[in-house]
């Protein structure tokens, strides 16, 4: 069986390297003219905005994004994208406004401090435990077993992957949170 580039993608189920979006050999030759996506690695993703779920191709070279555009194979968008989807390039590492380090703001402080992950994660975990232990209710006023805390709440996140949503609620419910809400409510 001849394995075309796209069917290979189906088989491997992973991103692979290819010469631009062009298909025939003749065009490969012409590809020398375009430098931007020539020999870039293509990774398929789904648009992070609305829930139409359009396919997007992210083209990278040496780990840097060189271009993003609609996935022509995707049956819903067939390569097209709206203004937001077309702008995906600007939320990549090229955007200097991206948050890149954990920030901490101490009580009463008027500035952010950059902290290490270990520091913030330890502090957050301790905060959670402190608040949970202080507000944990084994029974409610009626004496029914409830095993919950009303001292902590969570909102978000409809932008996370399914797998992350699941483990997030798993963690929150194991802690006894009942105030769990997200974008679907508003």
């Amino acid at each position: 069986m001849k394995v075309s580039r796209r069917s290979f993608l189906k088989i491997s189920g992973a991103a692979i390297t290819a010469g631009g979006l062009s298909l025939s050999l003749e065009q490969e030759k012409a590809c020398a003219k375009t430098t931007k996506i020539c020999f870039a690695k293509e990774t398929v993703t789904i648009c992070p905005y609305c829930a139409v779920g359009c396919g997007i191709i992210v083209q990278t070279r040496h780990g840097r994004v060189v271009n993003t555009e609609g996935d022509p194979d995707h049956p819903v968008n067939q390569g097209s994208l709206c203004s937001k989807g077309s702008s995906l390039y600007q939320i990549t590492h090229h955007n200097k406004n991206r948050l890149t380090r954990p920030l901490y703001r101490a009580p009463g402080s008027s500035r952010w401090e950059e902290k290490s992950w270990d520091w913030v994660m330890d502090k957050i975990a301790n905060n959670i435990k402190k608040t949970r232990d202080a507000t944990f209710m084994e029974r409610n006023i009626l004496g029914q077993i409830v095993n919950r805390t009303e001292g902590i709440a969570s909102v978000g996140s409809a932008a996370m992957d399914n797998e992350e949503c699941y483990v997030y609620q798993k963690l929150l419910r194991s802690l006894g949170l009942v105030y769990i809400e997200h974008q679907a409510r508003i």
């Binding site: 992973a14 990774t43 609305c50 194979d73 968008n77 996370m160 992350e164 802690l175 508003i186």
Partner: protein
């Protein structure tokens, strides 16, 4: 969406109401355009003339918050003119069911249904609650519902429906909605033409319907229309909620919501101390052998979820005991969270990938609430108004004792995982690049927190430590010392699908311990299977990761693409598809069949809603609406808090003194936070000369939600750089405002600076022969970007009221009262 995006192309009439698909779901127009090229009619109903309206064949304006009146008129039109799909209505809906003779309609009961208990005020009842005893079906001696298939019995749903909507005359509807009568008729005629078996009509709605105090009933009215016209389950039909965030469908399926657990299982209540009592309470029963009553499988799904959470570390009951219980009757939703936060009972808060300081109704109250927290964890890819609230306008950092953590996370293409689109397609995304700097995928942050908490509880103990320490969490390769630092989405995806936890023999086939469950029909209630979410069972099987499939073939010919990604449930692309065929299993619409029966090959086409034979097979068959206990779609819906039929009530804040339909002004069962004479942040100003203009909020194509991602992107900011308010020329003349002027929009709760767009796309409404003006504002803006140095809070939600729909508690951000004045704020 009951159907999916591509299916729009199969429709003969597309009604876009309560959404603005051209702007907020632009790619949907690829398929709408295709339908229109085939000759479909596009209808746009919206308070303002949008980019959707610009493409519509028929446009009708309506005053925000009057959708039930508008659609109620259509129900009347369909019934008066006998345009309903008779066989479908009779056989597939509960139109033939007989209702308790004690049941009273609002017309004969002061504007409310029978059974209401509440406080009577001059606006009618407030803070009411229905006793639903009279909203019941009459039963036959064998326990099945009593039916009159002639639909003539005065107690039958059909006749009650007719009686109820007889009040929604063209004149009445036009007086309430402000829509010209000829336009109403034009739309009713066009849409009800889809009642023919071979025709299908679809509706696309979004927050324009949900963000109301009658949100659920808005959708119910349309569902009734769709059932009457036989548009459910068919290609080009359905009731299609256009979901606004990439994975709001998946995050809802996995239930990041207080009232449900993954798979739409009910959150346990305090009155259900054991798993057994929980299952008993939540498992519906049916006496009709032909009703599939799918929720009868509830105990299998709950047991499998408990196993997914705690694995074999606990038994099922123990796992259930660790799951937090809600107090019976209490609501723990969004508005409550921020009310409790404002009152100071909530100490710690996660705003994980969400920006409530801009997105929550009555955002002023939310911002005050944030300042009363002990700690706040904000995870995002950009700085935002929630994480930086302490530094925002009107805030004094020195006085705010909240500890704030702002954690950088990876963007969608910087990690691997699946998301579910509005059409329920679960699609796998791959990692293209590393996150910038030290940013990490959310999954890794969550995993990191879990292992720290587990260690803390193991070392130091605390309250109910087992709930945390016994949790299973094997989602990556283990480092020495059993530490798992990485987060591998495939491990989680497999857990979501579910495993056999021991060797199980099903229908003569042995499934070995540790293999993936092939589908939810295999799940067990004895703890021998695990599965997070029964709806996703079949998504990651021994055959591989179904969500990652990329086969572009479409053997169906109607755009189902069955081997592209995966769709819940069981890769079924059109829900309720058993209603798309007659009792012999032949499609109503032969040209666009979703499924069809053949005695040789069985069901063909899409994955049917259960593999039973067609209805004519009698006891070997099942009714098509398998999720309902009786198997029939509900025109009469006794499950809702605010009435089995929809009834028009005004928004909490409205420009009229009286509801023209009845003496009941607003929905009687909504939870009112405002208290007369109590000045706090929960304010309301209805029919108030200070706030005479109706206001609605919305989004534009170029930004997304609170703009937390898009406002930081120069290309998008270039397109829509500033907060604006759209208004008619008439209103602008009255207020002395010219196009492009700086103006202030004020409600009783706050004020926002904006640029005026004076446009003929807005026109004043004639409401009960009075001129009523309406303005509209987008809710994409805040203060953090652009122009952070101005420290000007430009969030539309500073104005919106904190009042929710009684069923969903979704705030009424779409209809409230404001004033607009020239000049900047303050």
């Amino acid at each position: 969406m009951t159907n999916h995006w591509i299916d729009l192309r199969n429709s003969d009439c597309i009604m876009i109401m309560g959404s603005n698909a051209a702007e907020n779901h632009p790619i949907s127009f690829k398929w709408i355009t295709k339908a229109m090229e085939r000759g479909a009619t596009l209808i746009s109903v919206d308070p303002r003339f949008t980019r959707t309206s610009a493409k519509a064949d028929i446009y009708a304006p309506l005053r925000s918050g009057t959708d039930i009146a508008f659609l109620g008129g259509m129900v009347k039109y369909i019934l008066d003119k006998n345009l309903y799909f008779e066989e479908y209505t009779r056989e597939y809906t509960n139109a033939s069911f007989l209702i308790n003779p004690g049941f009273k309609l609002p017309a004969e009961n002061c504007g409310v249904f029978s059974g209401l208990k509440g406080t009577m005020t001059r606006e009618g009842y407030i803070n009411g609650k229905y006793d639903k005893t009279t909203w019941s079906f009459q039963k036959n001696p064998d326990g099945t519902p009593r039916k009159d298939k002639t639909l003539q019995h005065p107690d039958c749903v059909f006749q009650l429906l007719k009686k109820h909507f007889s009040r929604y005359s063209l004149d009445m509807v036009s007086d309430i909605t402000g829509t010209p009568k000829d336009r109403l008729e034009q739309i009713y005629r066009a849409y009800s033409a889809t009642g023919k078996p071979e025709k299908s009509g679809t509706v696309m709605y979004a927050m324009g319907w949900t963000q109301h105090t009658v949100g659920v009933q808005n959708i119910r009215t349309m569902a009734i229309i769709q059932l009457l016209l036989g548009n459910m389950g068919v290609a080009g039909g359905g009731v299609n909620a256009l979901r606004g965030e990439s994975n709001v469908q998946g995050s809802t399926d996995h239930c990041l919501l207080f009232h449900i657990l993954p798979g739409y299982l009910k959150a346990p209540r305090a009155s259900q101390p054991t798993l057994q009592s929980y299952n008993e309470k939540n498992t519906p029963e049916t006496s009709d052998p032909m009703s599939a009553n799918w929720w009868g499988n509830y105990p299998k799904y709950s047991a499998s979820l408990m196993r997914a959470h705690y694995g074999l570390n606990t038994n099922l009951e123990e796992a259930y005991s660790y799951t937090p219980k809600l107090d019976d009757g209490k609501n723990y939703s969004w508005l409550t969270i921020f009310d409790e936060m404002y009152k100071g009972t909530i100490k710690g808060f996660f705003a994980w990938g969400q920006n409530p300081a801009c997105s929550g109704a009555n955002a002023g109250k939310i911002r005050q609430g944030l300042a009363r927290l002990d700690w706040l964890v904000n995870v995002n890819i950009f700085d935002n108004e929630t994480g930086s609230f302490w530094n925002g306008p009107g805030m004094e950092p020195k006085e705010i004792e909240t500890e704030v953590f702002m954690l950088p996370c990876a963007a969608s293409f910087e990690k691997e995982g699946s998301i579910t689109n509005s059409g329920r397609w679960m699609q796998w995304r791959y990692k293209a690049t590393e996150p910038p700097g030290e940013a990490r995928p959310d999954g890794e942050i969550i995993t990191g927190l879990f292992y720290r908490l587990k260690a803390l509880y193991e070392e130091k103990g605390g309250k109910l430590p087992e709930a945390v320490t016994k949790l299973t969490w094997d989602y990556g390769f283990k480092l020495p010392g059993d530490k798992i630092r990485s987060f591998d989405a495939h491990f989680v995806a497999k857990e979501i699908n579910g495993y056999f936890l021991k060797d199980v023999q099903i229908k003569g086939k042995l499934y070995k311990k540790g293999t993936l469950v092939p589908g939810f029909a295999y799940l067990q209630d004895d703890g021998s299977t695990s599965s997070v979410n029964w709806l996703y069972c079949n998504s990651y099987t021994e055959e591989g990761n179904m969500a990652a499939r990329r086969d572009t073939s479409d053997p169906s010919g109607i755009g189902l693409y069955p081997r592209w990604s995966w769709c819940w449930p069981l890769n079924r692309r059109v829900l309720y598809n058993r209603a798309s065929v007659d009792k012999d299993g032949q499609p109503w619409a032969m040209k666009k069949p979703v499924i069809w029966w053949s005695s040789e090959t069985g069901w063909n086409g899409d994955v049917p809603d259960g593999g039973w034979k067609p209805l004519s097979a009698g006891s070997e068959s099942r009714y098509p609406f398998i999720m309902k206990p009786d198997g029939y779609a509900r025109i009469f819906g006794p499950g809702l808090t605010d009435g089995p039929f929809p009834e028009h009530y005004e928004p909490l804040e409205c420009p009229v003194e009286k509801n023209l339909m009845s003496k009941q002004l607003v929905n009687p069962v909504i939870k009112r936070w405002d208290k007369e004479g109590v000045p706090d942040l929960d304010l309301r100003a209805t029919f108030d000369s200070r706030y005479p203009i109706v206001c609605t909020t919305y989004r534009v194509s170029e930004h997304w939600q609170t703009g937390v991602m898009t406002r930081w992107q120069p290309w998008l900011l270039e397109l829509q750089p500033e907060m604006f308010v759209e208004m008619s020329h008439d209103l602008a003349d009255i207020r002395g405002i010219r196009n492009g002027d700086k103006v202030t929009v004020k409600s009783v709760r706050g004020e926002v600076a904006a640029v005026a767009i004076v446009t003929s796309r807005f026109k004043p409404f004639q409401i009960s022969r009075n001129t009523t003006h309406q303005v509209g504002i987008p809710w994409h803006y805040g203060w953090r970007q652009p122009d952070p140095e101005k420290k000007e809070m430009r969030s539309a939600n500073l104005l919106t009221p904190n009042i929710g729909d009684p069923n969903t508690m979704i705030p009424e951000s779409k209809a409230f009262m404001v004033d607009v004045v020239k000049g900047g704020a303050k």
